[in-house]
Symmetry: C2
C-alpha cells in the first residue's frame, strides 16, 4: 500500500502537501459538504451534489407526470439490479450477484434464513460477541423462529477453531463497527468451507472504504449498508450479495412478490426468480434508490486501490497525530495500528469520550461516540482531507487540555448517538 | 351513505353539478396532477404539491447540513411513530398501535411470523385463493421456514366455516385488489376469535378510500401500503398495526436493532421495545418517510366519512355510466355493485382488456389491466372528479366502439403492468 511520506514533525503544511498531491482531491467537488470537519461518514455519508436534482426529477417529472408508467418508462423496476451492478466492483462481485433492496437488517434475515434452510442438519450460527447489534438480533430472531437452532458467539480470534460440523453459518462483520478491526475474509471463509459451513459477511463498514474481494475469497453471502461510505442518505436502501453458484439453491424466507419469477402474472404460488432477483421482497423504494444511485456514481470514476489506500493513510495519519499531540491525556487506541487489519475508522477509548465527542461537535469536528467509552472517527476517502485530520486532532487536543468537555451541556445523552 | 342524486339521462352537466357541490373538490389543489384522467391512484397515488419541497429540505438542509445530527435535530428517529399516528384515524386505530416501516411484504412477514410463534400448537394459516400475490407468497415463505405449518386457501365466502381449532392465523385482504370486493371485517374477525385464531388484515387497497375500523371490529393485526391512496410515492414505506392488547405478547421474527428497547445501548442481546416500536426492524428510509408524510397530511384536513362516501359514489357513477354507455360491447362487471361491499376501485372483465387499457392510456385515460382479463379503474376521492368518471366512460365507449384498441402497439405486454 502506498503510504504517504510523513516526516518527524508533522505540521499543517505537511498535511496540505499531501492534499496537494492527492489524486482524489477533486472528488470533494462532487459533494455539498457541511461546515466544519465531518468525520462521521462511516455513520451517515455526506450529500452528493447531484442528489437533490435527481430526486426532484424523480418526484416531479417521473412520478408526478408519468405516474404508474414510471415503472417501465424510467425503469424503476430495474433499479435493484442496476444499483447492485454499481456496488459489485467495490466488493469483488459480479454485477448479477448483487442487488439493492430493503435494509441491512432485513437482508441479513433473508440470507441467514436461506442459509439455515439450506443446512437443515446443522444447528449453529457462529458469530462474535460485540458484533454490530442488529446482526446478532436478526440472527436471534431467525433462531427463535426456527426453534431448533442456536446462535453461538466466540471472540473473533477463536472463530476459526470454533467452526465445526455443526456450524450451519458463520456470520461476521468484515470491519468492526467500533474498533475498525478488519477480519481476514479469505482465511475465515476457507475455514468455514472446510467444515461445510456457509459464510455471511456484513460489509456495512467496509464498502467504499476498504478493498473487499468476495469472489476472490470464495465468499458465499454478504450484506451491506447504503448510507455510510456509499452516501445514499439517511435510511438508504441496503444491498446483498449471493455468489452465483448458490443463487439457484438458496431461497429467501422473505419470499415477497418482487422476488417472484413473474411478479405481474399474479400467480397464487411462489416461484422464485432464477437469479439474484429472488432475494427481492416487497416494492423497492424508488426515491431511496434514486438517492443511492447518486451516492454510487462517484465510485465509478475513481481508482479504487488509490481510494482504499487513502482511507488507510488518513487513519494512519490520525493515529500518528494522536500519538504526537494527544499523548498522556487519557486516550487509549482501540483500533489496530496495522493498516492491513484496519478499516476506514479509528477509535480511541477515553473515560470522558461522550462529553469530549459533544464538545468536539460544538467546535465543528463531528465524530461519534460508541458505548461504553469510544470516540470514533471515520475517514471517508472521497471527501476527507489530510488537513481535516490535522485540524481534528488539534481540536481534540484543545478540548481535552482545556477540559472544555467538562460542561453539563455535553453530558446530556441524545436519543440517537 | 350519502348517494349523489343521479338522474335518468346522466350527462356531463350532471357530473359537473356533482363536482360543483363536492365539499372535497378543493383538495385537488393540494396535488400536482398529470394531464388526462388518472384512475390508477389505487396502484400509485398522485404527487402532493408539497412533496418536492419537503424532500428538498430533508436532503439539502437536514441531511446535507446537519448530517448525523438529523436523527435527533429533525426527529428522523420519530418518523415511524409520527407517521403511524397520521394513519391511525384512517383505519380505526390508536396512534400508538400503528407504525410506518419497511414494505407491505416485510411487514406481512413480521406479523405472520409473530402470530405463528404465538400459536405454536396450531398448524394453519387460512387465506383465500387469488389474494394479492405477495400475501400468499410471504405466508408461504413463513410456512417454509417454520416447516411444521401449512397455508390453506378457501374462497372468501367459505372462510368463516373453514376456521377451526387448528387455525393459527386468518390472513385476508380487506378490499380485493382486482374485484374491489370488501370483506366483512367485523364478522370474520369475530369468527376467527371464536375459534381462538388471530386475524391479519391487509388494508393496502382500503386505507384512504374506504372506512376501516380495526378496533371497532376487534382486529388483531393489519398491514397496508403507503403508495396507493396515501400518495407516498413509488415504493413508499408501508405500515403495520398491532392491537395494543397484543403488543407485549407478540414478537417480530425480524428483530432488527430499531425494534430494540434501547437501540443505542448496542447490547448483544435482543430485548424488544415495549410497544409498537418492537415491530421496527432496520434503519427507516428517511426520504421515503418524508414523502409519505406529505401524502398523509391532506387526510388530516378532510371529513373522513365524506371522503369515503365520495369514493363509493364515484364507483357507483362509473358503473351506472358503463351500464348506460358501454352496454353490449363485451364488458362484464367483475366488482360488487353494492356500495356496502365494494372498495375504491371497480373492475370489468373484457376479452380485450389489455389492449383496451393500452388504448385508453394512449387517449389519456389511465386505469390498469389485471390478469387475465380485467380493466380496473380506481377512484381516489381526494382528487377524482365526477367529470373525470364521465369522460373516462365516454373514452372507453369510443375506444371499444371504434375498435381503436385493435392495434399491434397496444398488444405489447409491458414488463410492469
Amino acid at each position: 500500500m502506498a503510504q504517504p511520506i510523513i516526516d518527524n514533525c508533522f505540521g499543517l503544511e505537511n498535511a496540505r502537501r499531501l492534499d496537494a498531491v492527492d489524486r482524489l482531491a477533486s472528488m470533494r467537488d462532487r459533494f455539498l459538504l457541511p461546515q466544519g470537519i465531518y468525520l462521521d461518514g462511516n455513520s451517515l455519508g455526506v450529500l452528493p451534489r447531484d442528489t437533490a436534482a435527481a430526486l426532484h426529477d424523480v418526484v416531479e417529472r417521473q412520478w408526478g407526470s408519468d405516474l404508474i408508467a414510471g415503472w417501465n418508462t424510467h425503469d424503476w423496476i430495474g433499479q435493484p439490479q442496476r444499483l447492485g451492478g454499481l456496488i459489485a466492483p467495490l466488493i469483488g462481485a459480479e454485477p448479477h450477484e448483487v442487488i439493492v433492496s430493503d435494509t441491512t437488517s432485513t437482508n441479513l434475515f433473508k440470507l441467514i434464513g436461506a442459509a439455515l434452510i439450506a443446512r437443515p442438519d446443522r444447528v449453529t450460527i457462529l458469530s462474535e460477541p460485540g458484533n454490530f447489534p442488529t446482526d446478532l438480533y436478526v440472527a436471534e430472531g431467525a433462531v427463535r423462529m426456527l426453534g431448533d437452532r442456536v446462535l453461538k458467539t466466540v471472540p473473533a480470534d477463536e472463530i476459526v477453531e470454533a467452526i465445526d460440523e455443526d456450524t450451519a453459518l458463520v456470520m461476521l462483520t468484515h470491519v468492526h463497527y467500533t474498533s475498525g478491526r478488519k477480519l481476514d475474509m479469505a482465511a475465515i471463509t476457507t475455514a468455514a468451507h472446510a467444515k461445510g459451513a456457509l459464510i455471511l459477511w456484513d460489509l456495512s463498514h467496509s464498502t467504499g472504504a476498504v478493498a473487499v474481494d468476495l469472489n476472490g475469497c470464495g465468499a458465499d453471502l454478504a450484506v451491506g449498508c447504503g448510507y455510510k461510505y456509499l452516501n445514499g442518505g439517511p435510511g438508504a436502501p441496503a444491498f446483498l450479495f449471493v455468489a452465483e453458484r448458490l443463487q439457484g439453491a438458496l431461497q429467501s424466507p422473505l419470499s415477497g412478490w418482487m422476488g417472484h419469477d413473474s411478479p405481474f402474472a399474479f400467480d397464487d404460488a411462489y416461484r422464485p426468480a432464477p437469479g439474484i432477483a429472488r432475494f427481492l421482497c416487497g416494492t423497492p423504494s424508488v426515491l431511496g434508490m434514486a438517492a443511492l444511485e447518486c451516492g454510487l456514481a462517484p465510485f465509478a470514476e475513481v481508482d479504487l486501490p488509490a481510494l482504499f489506500d487513502k482511507a488507510s493513510a488518513l487513519g494512519a495519519l490520525y493515529m500518528r497525530l494522536m500519538d504526537e499531540r494527544c499523548r498522556d491525556v487519557g486516550f487509549t487506541l482501540a483500533s489496530p495500528r496495522d493498516d492491513a487489519v484496519r478499516g476506514g475508522h479509528v477509535s480511541y477509548a477515553h473515560d470522558h469520550a461522550y462529553p469530549i465527542c459533544q464538545a468536539l461537535i460544538a467546535r465543528g469536528v463531528v465524530g461519534d461516540f460508541r458505548a461504553p467509552d469510544l470516540l470514533r472517527m471515520g475517514f471517508a476517502p472521497l471527501v476527507t482531507r489530510y488537513e481535516d485530520v490535522w485540524r481534528a486532532v488539534e481540536t481534540i487536543r484543545d478540548v481535552v487540555r482545556t477540559r472544555s468537555w467538562d460542561n453539563p451541556l455535553f453530558k446530556v445523552r441524545a436519543k440517537v448517538t
